[in-house]
Symmetry: C2
């Protein structure tokens, strides 16, 4: 059973796990009220619940008070899932939460699978698939940009764009289909040049939306910035200085190896994942160090931006030149490079003109760190010149748009024949329509749906 059985009533904790002041347990399905009524008192609250009224109900187990709750009752269809729903706000004790979930199960509910509430909202037509997918993105968003992309998508921003493209596809298709009809002869001949132009414009429209995926990926996952430089130039200090500037949303994650560490932080509303690299400094026979160098090269290669740190109080040495060579190779591939001259608190040993070509700062005194942050914010601006109202952040949507565009390209090939084959052309337009329908979840397979929702939080 891949899709939810909506004849069943499901239950799940809906707040983050662990102890907290308040926790939420959610029920949805045709039996939500009757299940909750079995252990929440006074029962008369369930007799004729007003939509969105909060009731002070006592949860009982085996005749004993389990907790005093605030409970919201949502008669169908005025709820998140469109089904009858109950939201129980109890004390955030893992013990109480597990008892309430168990009580619901004892009285007929089954445990909700991850994302099942949103899955049901989708099934019941409360959200289309693109909107539903963004619910999880919203919860996991860690920056203003990721949040904005997700909430725009939930509010229908992406779906609206898709529906617009679809309307244009349907118009084109109808021009062909009326001519496939018996009454075709009564109509004027198809203006092939106009049809071709409209197809081209539509293909471009699809491409523009698909192109926003480049941005969307950054918005969703953040941009990757590698910190590279010779040993002891202050790479780790720079990372610390940057992290110190805004405490909000700093999530350390374990490095892939002992020698590269990653830290995420919010720079002007965009997540930037900084990678502190090492190991580029010498050629070695030691297999561990060799692996370290390999990882550093990989970090540089997968970065959107390199912060090249140099020690301004030391003349450039062989190590600097090795770093320069590695960075140059990446710059050629289009990776942005920001030069940073550290240790401005000491007498400079580099030519002033060279230092002027980068950001001079001191991780020790903090001088200049602010300037670098502003530059990073500007770099962000370069990557995101204009914030589109709707941005594709899902690889699935990107792929479907590319497929749709390919179907339209096949129309061009058909034109090379003597007569334009309406039926074949209509098939390709229908193919493109099908791809858009997959984005909205109208013709999506059960397997794909199950796959999308299984990555959701429990209780959502």
């Amino acid at each position: 059973m891949l899709i939810p059985d909506t004849t069943q009533t499901v239950v799940a904790p809906a707040s983050a796990p662990g102890p907290g002041a308040i926790a939420v347990v959610r029920l949805s399905g045709p039996g939500a009220f009757s299940v909750a009524k079995a252990f929440l008192e006074p029962r008369k609250a369930f007799d004729d619940p007003k939509p969105r009224s909060a009731y002070l109900l006592r949860a009982h187990e085996d005749g004993r008070l389990l907790d005093r709750t605030i409970t919201l009752l949502y008669p169908s269809p005025k709820s998140y899932t469109g089904e009858q729903m109950v939201e129980i706000f109890c004390h955030g004790s893992p013990y109480i939460i597990s008892r309430i979930v168990n009580l619901a199960i004892k009285h007929g509910a089954v445990e909700a699978r991850p994302g099942e509430f949103t899955f049901r909202a989708f099934i019941n037509g409360k959200l289309d698939l693109a909107q539903a997918e963004a619910v999880n993105d919203l919860i996991l968003s860690e920056s203003a940009a990721a949040h904005r992309a997700a909430i725009t998508q939930i509010e229908g921003g992406v779906s609206k764009q898709i529906r617009k493209l679809r309307r244009r596809l349907i118009t084109l298709l109808s021009e062909l289909e009326v001519r496939l009809d018996d009454s075709y002869e009564e109509l004027p001949a198809l203006d092939l040049s106009s049809f071709r132009e409209k197809t081209l414009l539509l293909a471009r429209g699809i491409q523009v939306l698909a192109d926003s995926f480049e941005k969307g990926r950054y918005l969703k996952h953040g941009i990757r910035a590698a910190i590279a430089g010779a040993p002891n130039c202050g790479k780790s200090s720079l990372l610390n200085s940057l992290l110190g500037y805004k405490r909000a949303i700093v999530a350390p994650s374990a490095g892939t190896t002992r020698d590269t560490i990653e830290e995420k932080l919010d720079v002007s509303g965009l997540s930037v994942i900084f990678t502190d690299t090492a190991g580029i400094n010498r050629r070695t026979g030691n297999p561990v160090e060799k692996e370290g160098i390999k990882r550093t090269f990989k970090a540089l290669k997968t970065s959107d931006l390199i912060l090249w740190v140099q020690d301004a109080a030391k003349s450039a040495g062989a190590a600097d030149r090795r770093v320069q060579k590695a960075i140059a190779a990446n710059a050629q591939r289009g990776t942005a490079v920001l030069k940073v001259f550290n240790k401005s608190d000491l007498p400079p040993k580099r030519p002033p003109a060279e230092i002027a070509g980068g950001t001079s700062l001191s991780c020790k005194t903090g001088e200049g760190v602010e300037t670098l942050k502003k530059l990073l914010a500007g770099e962000r601006g370069r990557l995101f010149s204009a914030e589109a109202s709707a941005v594709i952040t899902s690889a699935r949507h990107f792929q479907a748009l590319l497929n749709a565009r390919k179907e339209l390209e096949k129309l061009k090939e058909l034109e090379s024949g003597k007569t334009f084959p309406f039926e074949l052309a209509a098939e390709h337009l229908k193919g493109a329509l099908g791809e858009l329908a997959v984005i909205l979840g109208e013709t999506t397979s059960e397997e794909l749906l199950a796959d999308i929702f299984k990555n959701f939080c429990v209780g959502k």
Copy 2:
């Protein structure tokens, strides 16, 4: 400023940290509505909010939609704190939570300190101190017994007992005080023998409640069970077998040393902390092993119960005798010992009468593990013969009760004199009353109050 400034409005996330389907942000204070109104729309919801009505409100930041929320508005005094309160249920995104908290701060709220909501409820007379303290115990309760003790205390179980004792103290005190008055001569002389008896009964009543702390500690923190035995008798296997029986509430915690590991599990509604010991098996010069042995002896000494594991398929050896000696010392101190004969799947090498004196089981096949669990449940019964309606779980309450009892004992000393000094006696009764008042938080110092609430969750 140790106690909350209730002229200010406070804000805090109230659900557990981390991503989840739903999160809660709470506001309390005189400006709760006006702060929330500054970023929640439509604003008319705040005009004349019905108590406990749920409003669908949009949170806005800089003119952009931040999230759609379900918001509960509580006009004062019908709220948890007794103040004007707002509870915002938003998507459980750490980004959204931090933005909503920031919006509230931007519009005049200050960040709530841990426990500040409950602290305010206490200040506003919604809860006495004993009730307020139990709120945190409730959230952190991990077993049915701990939960029951906490919720009984929140519902006023402990406070009721304290108030009963207080009424009896006041009756005694008034008997003395009327005789300190000018009109004393009109009254009959104090019946000293009856007064003495009443004082004794009251001291006993206080002692009974204080004695419940022995139980209360178990209820709150669980009982400690050490698993001891010769090497390779199956101590760790037994721990695993026990843990396997009930998945619920299994919390591994790092061992104090490499050689003792602790696991907590729920046995018939009571937390049992099992300690797997090692190192008792030989005398050694190795300092690490020496430390291990020291730790094992300590684990045995601090246990409420010892599971003594022996390998039934092997004759008793020197290692078994060493363990026996260590356990005997603890049994003398009153520690309960349950003998376990492991490896019942192999031919026995111990006398049948010896095996019959313990629980025969096989961690390999699982045979007999159930029997041991029943015995443990019984052991729990022995420790908690009757579940008192109110149990002292707080060391602070325990100490105050002991102090009150000591004041009553001092009355006895006064009797040895020629005349019974009413004024001095009244002072001791007042001292005892003061101790009870401290439990209820009526005369508690700001320092102590601050100390109690600082260990609470944020948002509670």
